[in-house]
């Protein structure tokens, strides 16, 4: 924005300037300013600039403390009437005006922006609002007045040095609107500062971007772990330009600090434009000698290296020791970064000089700081509270669902990760995945690529590309993949075998809580099952519970019934197919966002003991997933030794039903039929619900004889409404006076076997001391 010092227009002068009609924006801004109650001392002055830009100067009344009123000036040097110039860009009102205070305004006050426009040199730019002024301009109906209100308030505070709360600590110099950023981890850098003044150089990369309006923007990252000696060899291998946009330089960053005891206790406005200014500022901070010395070393190295150009972009970081800790910090060190565009002095005779010198006029730009990526930063940005206990998150499966959950968690600062997947990243995976794959990396294992991605977040991630079963059955590998501090295991393989294997592993051999994530029926439904503490209820219990829900919920049932066709072999190459579910990336994300959020909540606040089952259903608009949540209590587990070892698992709701039924009949034996799921490979029977004893059953004090009337129909109904998942698994009855199975009970089990309802089958007996069982192992007997 250029400054037009020429013509001025006073109010009443018909808004005409040498034939150029003033814009409506200028006129409206003028009237708004004029009508503000704080504006005093005659009419504001409007000066048109180039291309529709304009400036308005006016006097504003400052609210003074009582004893400064008559003097007309406060102790901090703020006058009862201050002259202000607002520079409106041609893009106003979509860009905010810049507020300039007079050249004599006290620039040692806090909340002053670094001046980034050299033609306004000497003016002071107050930071009147904690955010973009553009937002303030549009947030209210009369945003320009609001900006003036903020200015009026700012000046009032400036008059009594109340811009910052000194009880909170030292406020770092404002660096919001600068020429770019330097990325570093501030605590790592502060740790390098010693009591004696010193300087260090680091390797770094500088990106230089010149926008159309000749605005410069730097972006630079330093590697503070790699300090370097400034040698001719280093110079020869640095400062080359890569021919790309924006320009990339390999450079070095210089960090200087002062002696302990050298306290910089005054606010100094950011008015640095050239190397000379920077030297002066370094002098104020007590690190001038260190800066000068390192420039001599740099000059000497350049002299010897004779690089082909004369301009060097070097980030310079000054460290000021403040009288108190910075706001929200435990250290008084303020780190202030600049970008120097060092120019070798040309007119100086090089004879006899051991080092090149840099022109005092070399431009220096104030730049801002950006925290380096750390899990702390990611967590802060995600709203995480308090210290996070970083235990491992193990991902079994790094496909579309798993990768999305992992990346969501990593972005929120959770981790570290162990990533298990034996699959390779294939071109068709790009359609649905968290990885952004350039073609050249297709063919790497998914786990490796995902680990690489997460490592760019400065977080640990270790890939495992072996089959999960091999990993689990090899103690050494298992130890590596599932470390003792494992917080959560997220299983998203889409493989029933994996699910069943994990369920079969007893908690003592496989600690850690499993979260199972799966999508069904082209993404019409998704389930998330979270095991309870000590893996009870476990994954298979939760899946059985899920199918049991289908018995009462028609919608879930319908979604299973449509399900068998959902997995279709998709051609992913000539003669190659993949059994996968066709749906867009967006639909997967609808589910994985919710799943990752629940995982994040569990990781942040892991005290829920119960198991959880979440069933997500895609609404008919297909942009919304509706989650239903049920808590699942602990499962009763009975171990049986027949001709083989078996496990009977009674889900919380089935156990509740039994207790209720027993209570209803008090001292009389009662019973019924058990529904559930049999897994012959795992030799496990899971009981999900009961069927009430048929009407022809006979209850008495000494026996219970199960009837059969209508029983087959009831069993079939549950079988069908669970999509064929739940079946007859046996019978139960009570012995209110205790005692194990009688010969009658065994005979009954035999008799039922002949009904052909299913086999094997369990005979469960409730006694006041706990459950007792008899088992028909079916073909395994």
């Amino acid at each position: 924005m250029a400054r037009n010092k020429g013509k001025t227009i006073k109010k009443g002068n018909k808004n005409v300037n040498g034939g150029n009609v003033l814009s409506q924006e200028a006129d409206c801004a003028f009237k708004t300013i004029q009508s503000h109650p704080a504006i005093v001392g005659g009419s504001p002055v409007l000066r048109p600039g180039e291309n529709g830009a304009f400036e308005i100067s006016f006097k504003i009344q400052v609210s003074m403390p009582t004893r400064s009123k008559q003097k007309g000036i406060s102790k901090t040097g703020v006058k009862a009437q201050e002259t202000v110039t607002m520079c409106f860009p041609k893009t106003y009102p979509f860009r905010a005006p810049m507020i300039l205070l007079g050249r004599n305004f006290n620039s040692t006050l806090p909340h002053i922006y670094p001046l980034i426009s050299s033609d306004k040199q000497g003016n002071v730019v107050p930071c009147v609002y904690d955010g973009p002024l553009e937002d303030l301009l549009h947030q209210e109906e009369d945003g320009l007045s609001k900006i003036l209100d903020q200015l009026s308030e700012w000046l009032k505070k400036a008059a009594v040095n109340d811009l910052i709360d000194s009880n909170q600590g030292w406020e770092p110099i404002r660096r919001d609107n600068t020429f770019g950023w330097l990325v570093y981890d501030i605590s790592e850098l502060k740790d390098l500062v010693q009591d004696k003044a010193g300087a260090l150089a680091f390797r770094c990369r500088v990106l230089l971007d010149r926008h159309q309006e000749n605005e410069i923007h730097f972006f630079s990252g330093i590697d503070y772990q790699k300090t370097c000696e400034i040698t001719p060899f280093l110079i020869q291998n640095s400062f080359f330009e890569e021919n790309r946009h924006p320009f990339l330089y390999i450079s070095m960053a210089i960090f200087v600090w002062s002696d302990l005891g050298m306290t910089a206790d005054g606010y100094l406005a950011e008015t640095i434009f050239c190397l000379h200014d920077l030297y002066e500022r370094a002098r104020e901070y007590g690190c001038y000698d260190q800066l000068k010395d390192i420039f001599v070393s740099l000059g000497a190295a350049i002299k010897k290296a004779t690089p082909p150009h004369n301009t060097f972009y070097v980030p310079i970081i000054l460290c000021a020791r403040r009288p108190c800790n910075l706001i929200g910090d435990t250290s008084p060190l303020e780190i202030i970064p600049y970008m120097a565009q060092l120019q070798v002095e040309k007119n100086r005779s090089p004879f006899g000089e051991a080092a090149v010198r840099f022109s005092n006029d070399s431009p220096v730009y104030p730049i801002g700081h950006r925290h380096a990526i750390t899990s702390k930063l990611l967590r802060q940005m995600s709203g995480g509270k308090g210290e996070l206990k970083h235990g491992n998150i193990v991902h079994i499966g790094c496909g579309s669902v798993g990768s999305k959950i992992a990346v969501h968690l990593a972005r929120s600062g959770q981790g570290p990760f162990k990533l298990i997947d034996k699959g390779f990243f294939s071109p068709h995976n790009v359609a649905r995945h968290a990885l952004m794959s350039p073609s050249e990396i297709a063919g790497y294992p998914k786990a490796v690529l995902l680990a690489e991605q997460i490592k760019t977040f400065q977080m640990k991630a270790e890939p495992f590309t072996t089959n999960i079963a091999s990993l689990c059955f090899d103690p050494e590998s298992k130890k590596k993949a599932f470390p003792e501090d494992t917080q959560l295991i997220i299983e998203s393989t889409g493989s029933m075998a994996v699910r069943e294997m994990l369920a079969a592993l007893p908690p003592e051999k496989f600690p850690g809580r499993i979260l199972h994530a799966a999508l069904y029926n082209l993404g019409q439904m998704g389930i998330m099952a979270l095991e309870g503490q000590n893996r009870n209820p476990n994954l298979s219990d939760l899946v059985v519970r899920y199918y049991d829900l289908g018995v009462e919920d028609k919608d879930i049932r319908k979604k299973f019934q449509d399900s068998p066709n959902a997995l279709i072999r998709q051609s992913i190459g000539h003669g190659c197919g993949s059994h996968t579910m066709v749906m867009p990336d967006t639909r997967i994300s609808l589910y994985t966002a919710g799943m990752a959020e629940r995982a994040r909540q569990v990781l942040e606040n892991n005290n829920e003991e119960k198991g959880e089952l979440w069933i997500g259903r895609l609404e008919s608009n297909e942009i919304q997933v509706n989650w239903r949540h049920i808590n699942v209590g602990q499962t009763d587990i009975l171990k049986i030794k027949a001709s083989h070892s078996w496990e009977i698992r009674i889900l919380d709701i089935a156990a509740d039903q039994i207790e209720k039924e027993v209570a209803k009949y008090e001292n009389i034996e009662t019973g019924g039929v058990l529904m559930g799921k049999i897994s012959l490979p795992r030799r496990c029977i899971t009981i999900s619900s009961l069927i009430e004893a048929p009407p022809d059953s006979n209850r008495s004090q000494s026996s219970f004889i199960l009837g059969t009337s209508g029983l087959k129909e009831k069993v079939l109904e549950i079988f069908n409404s669970s999509g064929g998942y739940l079946n007859y698994v046996g019978t139960w009855h009570s012995h209110p006076n205790g005692g194990g199975p009688s010969s009658l009970d065994r005979a009954c089990l035999e008799r039922l076997k002949k009904q052909g309802l299913g086999a094997p089958a369990v005979g469960l007996i409730w006694t006041p001391a706990g459950f007792k069982t008899i088992l028909d192992e079916g073909k395994l007997s």
Binding site: P37, S63, T66, S68, E141, S152, V160, D162
Partner: protein, 391 residues
């Protein structure tokens, strides 16, 4: 954060909050009407505005370190039962109905000994005043029984009771001319209070009649010490004290006027003529102020501010607020280059806002001038505003 003194616009009533830089709060008087009662400015919710300025403790309960009741008139304690927790802290309701909101905890009460006086013909009390009296007595009893009090039970009596009711309470009593700086059990190095009233009650019944509730107001001169400046700001506040009392104040302090100097003065009794004159503003033809009372209220320092906590002041026969009293205050201010504020007119009669003075080493500082909202009086001070969003 610099300390501040905030005057809330509560019609002809008082509600003043002192907030120190360590966030300690001293609330003097309240006049919290139901929204429907607030005809002049229905949009201004004084209770919400007060809570906005209060801190909450570790149990998330809003609190004031001190609640000072200058005298038990309704326009000084209205809303006490509804908005403040009375009784032991163990009975605090942390889960009130949503529409009621959490009640404000009073860590320490400051009160005149009027709580010990029986209600009678000249001493009638509204419900809130009775509740205050009961709460103050509850706290006094705890002290009498235990010899000490905890936060939430603390009380300080300002002024001795002539009939001996304050005997044995010396530890929790400050007398006229005392200067104290203990707030809720902690000594402050930022503020101290000099007791100027209540004036001890005379034996003469006729005089006691004159010393009704208004007359027995607590009068304090607060001294702020900021950045090493010992008398950075003097704030004189005297509830509804009337002319006889101000004459007495002058009599007692004319030899040491620094005790009644001020940079900030809250006009007694909502800018009432009766605080400075025995005549009637509306009936007498040529009402005259009492020179002694005026002298007591004239010790303004350079650039002082005088604040009337009242409705807007009109040029008419009304009292309070009274046009004639305002004229007297303006003439005091003229000689020191000071400024007059009225809570009912700040920043605008149609849309009042709390009037906040920042206290600096250079004296108190009035609020910055701000633009009025474009919307009409119905919306009041609330600006239409779009919430910021994320993209």
């Amino acid at each position: 954060m610099k300390p501040s003194v905030i005057f809330f616009p509560v019609d002809n009533g008082d509600m003043t909050l002192i907030k120190l830089s360590d966030k300690t709060t001293i609330l003097t008087d309240i006049n919290l009407r139901e929204a429907a009662e607030n005809e002049d400015n229905p949009a201004f919710d004084a209770a919400a505005a007060l809570k906005d300025h209060l801190e909450t403790d570790e149990k998330k309960r809003p609190y004031v370190d001190v609640f000072l009741l200058s005298h038990p008139d309704q326009d000084h304690c209205r809303g006490l039962k509804k908005y403040f927790h009375l009784g032991p802290l163990s009975e605090y309701n942390d889960d009130p109905p949503e529409e009621d909101g959490l009640k404000i905890v009073i860590r320490e009460i400051w009160s005149s000994p009027i709580i010990f006086r029986r209600a009678g013909k000249t001493h009638t009390l509204c419900e809130d005043a009775k509740a205050f009296s009961a709460e103050a007595k509850r706290r006094v009893n705890i002290f009498r029984n235990n010899g000490t009090t905890q936060e939430g039970d603390r009380i300080l009596i300002i002024g001795e009771d002539e009939n001996g009711k304050t005997e044995g309470l010396e530890t929790i009593l400050v007398k006229i001319d005392d200067i104290f700086s203990k707030i809720n059990g902690k000594n402050s190095n930022e503020i101290s209070m000099r007791v100027l009233g209540p004036i001890p009650i005379q034996e003469d019944i006729e005089k006691e009649e004159k010393l009704g509730k208004n007359h027995s107001s607590v009068i304090l001169q607060y001294t702020f010490s900021i950045d090493g400046q010992e008398d950075a700001c003097l704030f004189l506040s005297g509830g509804d004290a009337e002319v006889y009392i101000w004459e007495q104040v002058w009599e007692l302090n004319k030899g040491n006027t620094s005790a009644i100097q001020y940079d900030l003065l809250m006009t007694p009794h909502h800018c009432s003529w009766h605080s400075i004159s025995y005549d009637s503003w509306s009936k007498d033809e040529n009402p005259k102020p009492s020179q002694d009372a005026l002298s007591a209220l004239s010790q303004a320092r350079e650039g002082a501010f005088i604040i009337s906590s009242s409705k807007p002041i009109k040029n008419d026969k009304n009292d309070p607020p009274c046009w004639g009293a305002k004229a007297e205050y303006l003439s005091i201010l003229k000689s020191v280059g000071g400024e007059f504020f009225c809570t009912g007119e700040h920043p605008d009669k149609e849309a009042t806002e709390p009037l906040k003075f920042t206290i600096s080493a250079e004296g108190p500082q009035a609020p910055a001038k701000k633009s009025a909202a474009m919307s009409g009086a119905v919306i009041g001070a609330r600006r239409s505003r779009e919430p910021l969003y994320h993209g």
